[in-house]
Symmetry: C2
Subunit: 100 residues, 2 copies
Amino acid sequence: MALQKLTPQEQTDALAKPELKGWSLVEGREAIKRTLTFKDFNEAFGFMTRVALHADKHDHHPEWFNVYNRVEITLATHDVQGLSVRDITLATFINQIYDK
Amino acid sequence: MALQKLTPQEQTDALAKPELKGWSLVEGREAIKRTLTFKDFNEAFGFMTRVALHADKHDHHPEWFNVYNRVEITLATHDVQGLSVRDITLATFINQIYDK
């Protein structure tokens, strides 16, 4: 089955779940974002490396900006021109390792 | 001796050097930027990891954005509120490993 684009209702339902705490819709674009902060650059990049390994393994990659201890992440699915279950899965993984 | 802010002339001279090929001044801000592209995410993040190790060792960090195979890097020195020799050194290192 081809990858499905989430409906607006599915997006709302997903973002209301505790495992997606901190994520919100990007204005003017079908994507979700979260900003994370760490103790320093070393911790921020260590976190990014864990996300990168996960992303490459699952062939679903984030858009992200980093400056020192801050990482701003945007997730969307190119193939559906919007959000898919892949974004929810990656956001959930990110929260799991961040909130530990 | 405290870290010195580069003068406009020093900025221009540095950017004219072949080892800073591809770098340009950011509009409206004392910073330099370059966009790099790679074969895929794996190569882009591998490159970022090499830069991150160098950056953390020298305690001078980039601002950067990555999406898939593209990395946009901005360099500036917080301590001088502008450009310093540290940015030139980091940009030179980035070019060395990118242009190989």
